[in-house]
Amino acid sequence: MSEAQLETALTGREAPGDLAIEIRELTTRGMIDLRGDAGDGKFMAAAKDVLGLDLPTAPRTSAAWGEVQALWLSPDQWLILCPRARTEELLAALRQALAQIHSFAVDVSDMRTIIRLEGHAARSVLLKGCSLDLLSPDYAAGTVRRLRFAEIAALLHIVSERPDVLDLYVFRSYADYAWEWFLANGRAVAAIQPFGQQAVPAV
């Protein structure tokens, strides 16, 4: 009998050296989909009891407490991030605390693949695949945004700025596509300059 083994969608992939950005898959993160009424004080308090943080209610924001983070997805939906090994324990605690409250919490750790983009060109590479104005101050550290990226649904989390660290969440079945997209569009020679005159490529 063979043991079931966790294998992520991008296991074994390595980015080539000529990319303008650093990319890698984050493989040790657990994710919990949490839904409930943000207007219900009991729900918010119970969530805080377990997670140690106030669920963010302002659109496109996030909150963190230690190794737990909450990303705003909708007025009544959050993506809870935690170390993968803690997911089960956190989920059980959430369900217990929320048992009498109209809500739900589900382990979705294998639903999405997380691709981490790092480097000063991270935003300009991502700009090639989406319509967001990623260079505006709206996209400061902590910002969370669902977006249409290279024609697929994705979730962007600006982890930190200068140097930029961006986490892009795509559904697992699109992981290969998204990864290849970055290899094709993230090459150093394909770097774009957002403003001003563009250099004419050598023929």
């Binding site: 659109p59 496109r60 007025p75 939906q77």
Partner: protein
């Protein structure tokens, strides 16, 4: 390109960030007793849609934002979005008044019902 504004989360983007959901304010003819609904009423509910020149009232979904459905008023001549409003709400009064044709007929009793005197809110 259409620029759409979500009234729920404030996201603004072009129409590829949103999803068109057909005509707004469609009511199912009867939910209590379906056997009393005439074939004509059921047909109209399922298939008959308005096709106005000018203001049109639609449902949209904030597909790449908060995922919520909302209502929008779009001018079919200029493609300009005049307003967006909640999925359980009626359009802004001035837009109900500005509607023409079938929409004007549809909103007439809603405008009458919304007259300030009825609810006596001013007292």
């Amino acid at each position: 390109m259409l620029i759409v504004h979500c009234p729920v989360c404030g996201a603004e983007g072009d129409e590829t960030d949103f999803h068109y959901g057909g005509e707004a304010h469609i009511r199912r003819p009867a939910t209590q007793d379906p056997t009393t609904v005439s074939d004509a009423a059921q047909r109209d509910y399922l298939f008959m849609r308005r096709n106005p020149k000018g203001l049109h009232f639609e449902r949209w979904r904030c597909d790449r934002g908060c995922g919520k459905w909302f209502h929008a008023v779009r001018d079919t001549v200029t493609m300009d979005f005049k307003a967006t409003y909640g999925i359980t709400e009626l359009p802004p009064r001035e837009l109900m008044e500005a509607a023409s044709g079938e929409w004007a007929a549809f909103f007439k009793d809603k405008l009458d019902a919304a007259k300030p005197s009825r609810k006596g809110k001013s007292s």
